[in-house]
């Protein structure tokens, strides 16, 4: 077998995979936020075969794979607490605005 590709395509230095993914995602978010919803970046359409079955979230129950979102959130340094804070603010805003329109 000819494995010349392993040498020819080698970057020449070790990279931290998490950092590469982080830079890629940040670049995509930056360039695509004007014309593409965040959801389309976070939606994955393949079953998470690499995970043990017990940790899988079926795509037809929530529409997207939560593990993937969490991985991306981790890659861009967004913690679950940050996500929770945003969710709470959205709920407060809905309650306040909803109440306002009724009055």
């Amino acid at each position: 077998m000819n494995l010349k590709h392993l040498k020819a395509f080698d970057l020449g230095y070790q990279v931290d995979p998490t950092k590469v993914v982080k830079i890629h995602i940040l670049s995509r978010l930056d360039s695509k936020k004007k014309d593409e919803s965040l959801e389309s970046l976070f939606t994955i359409n393949q079953e998470a075969l690499a995970e043990p079955y017990g940790s899988q979230v079926s795509t037809d129950t929530v529409g997207y794979n939560v593990n993937y979102v969490v991985n991306i959130a981790a890659a861009v340094n967004i913690g679950l607490v940050d996500i929770a804070v945003v969710v709470i603010w959205v709920i407060i805003a809905i309650v306040v605005l909803g109440g306002g329109s009724e009055g």
């Binding site: 077998m1 000819n2 494995l3 590709h5 392993l6 020819a8 395509f9 080698d10 970057l11 020449g12 230095y13 070790q14 990279v15 931290d16 995979p17 998490t18 950092k19 590469v20 993914v21 830079i23 890629h24 670049s27 995509r28 360039s31 389309s40 970046l41 939606t43 994955i44 359409n45 393949q46 079953e47 075969l49 690499a50 995970e51 043990p52 079955y53 017990g54 899988q56 079926s58 037809d60 993937y68």
Partner: protein, 345 residues
């Protein structure tokens, strides 16, 4: 590109010869070389020292249960090292409820945690529905995690919902069962299937060409001859020249060296973050054939038919492709040294 799963292709042989099989498995291949035991144990030993591979050691094929001595040894050794162990099988051994229970109990005692049964319209030509039912019932009784993998075509009856109904009608609680549905990909023996069987609508919805292939280097496969491939996709079994999928040989190097080198490979990063279709477009291909809707077929085309073009582009423009296509940053807009430093592990 952090390896999570180590799969062992125990044998390419199988007691069935399904029309959709991308491995092109069949009975006559059972006589050919099975996985070398020494290499299997070496891989498990080395995987133990790679923290990210803590999730699963997967035994697949072909039909791995047709090499029982090797399979049992592998399950026991992987379980002793603390790995979660999964078996992928066609359930030929589950011809009765008692027989299935006895068969699985022995494997569970050795350390098997998860069972994945392949069952669909293609497998139905060779096996009864009752085999799948008995295998699932036995695994649930033993409190194992269970998945059923079903491969569909345009006119398939055996889709996810149908299998759910079948299980339900047999009194099986669906709570802990995962049904994995996928469309056949036109590779291996499935190349002979008619294009009219391709469900274009289904495939277009299922595979998005802008998210990258998350199988690359995350699910690696050890083959019977000791070669290690960068993914578990359908294209790695093609008889054509698909050397680019090979990331090393276990009889020559250790697993960590093989994985670390692959993590430095620009082609694998490109596939991981941009998909094969995006690379084909970069090379100027129009992708009019509906087969290009399939990521594994597109990848096969890229790695075989476009091999020389890919080699030329990547050797001439390796750095530029890494910055502009993979990281998606303009090199002039960043301090390169700073960026390199930040990427180093």
């Amino acid at each position: 590109m952090i390896t999570k799963t180590l799969a062992f292709m125990v044998t390419y042989g199988c007691n069935f010869k399904c029309a959709h099989c991308s491995v092109s498995s069949e009975p006559k291949l059972l006589a050919k070389q099975a996985l070398f035991e020494k290499l299997m144990l070496k891989a498990i030993d080395e995987a133990y020292y790679i923290p990210s591979i803590k999730v699963i050691i997967l035994f697949t094929g072909g039909e791995p249960t047709l090499k029982p001595r090797l399979l049992k040894k592998g399950i026991k050794y992987a379980a002793e090292k603390g790995f979660i162990v999964r078996l992928v099988t066609n359930a030929w051994w589950a011809s009765s409820e008692e027989g299935a229970l006895e068969f699985l109990k022995e494997l569970q005692e050795l350390g098997l945690n998860e069972l994945n049964v392949s069952f669909d319209d293609f497998h139905k030509h060779f096996i009864k529905e009752s085999n799948m039912i008995y295998a699932v019932k036995a695994a649930l009784k033993l409190e194992m995690k269970v998945a059923i993998a079903t491969t569909i075509h345009k006119y398939s009856e055996m889709r996810k919902e149908h299998i759910r109904k079948m299980l339900s009608n047999n009194g099986i609680d669906l709570t802990n069962i995962y049904i994995l549905e996928d469309h056949f990909q036109p590779l291996g023996r499935a190349k002979n299937l008619s294009d009219s069987l391709i469900d274009e609508e289904y495939v277009s919805k299922r595979y998005r060409a802008d998210l990258g292939c998350k199988r690359i280097l995350e699910d690696i496969v050890v083959h019977p001859d000791g070669k290690v491939t960068v993914c578990c996709g359908h294209a790695i079994f093609e008889p054509e020249d698909v050397d680019y999928y090979i990331i090393g040989y276990l009889d020559k190097e250790d697993l960590e060296t093989i994985i670390k080198r692959a993590q430095r490979n620009v082609l694998y990063w490109w596939l991981y973050l941009k998909e094969p279709q995006a690379i084909l477009k970069y090379l100027g291909y129009g992708l009019k054939d509906k087969k290009f809707l399939f990521p594994c077929y597109s990848c096969f085309y890229l790695m075989s038919k476009c091999k020389n073009e890919l080699y030329d582009v990547l050797t001439k423009r390796k750095e530029t492709i890494f910055y502009e296509e993979i990281l998606q940053v303009k090199p002039e807009s960043k301090d390169i040294k700073e960026l390199l430093r930040s990427l180093s592990s």
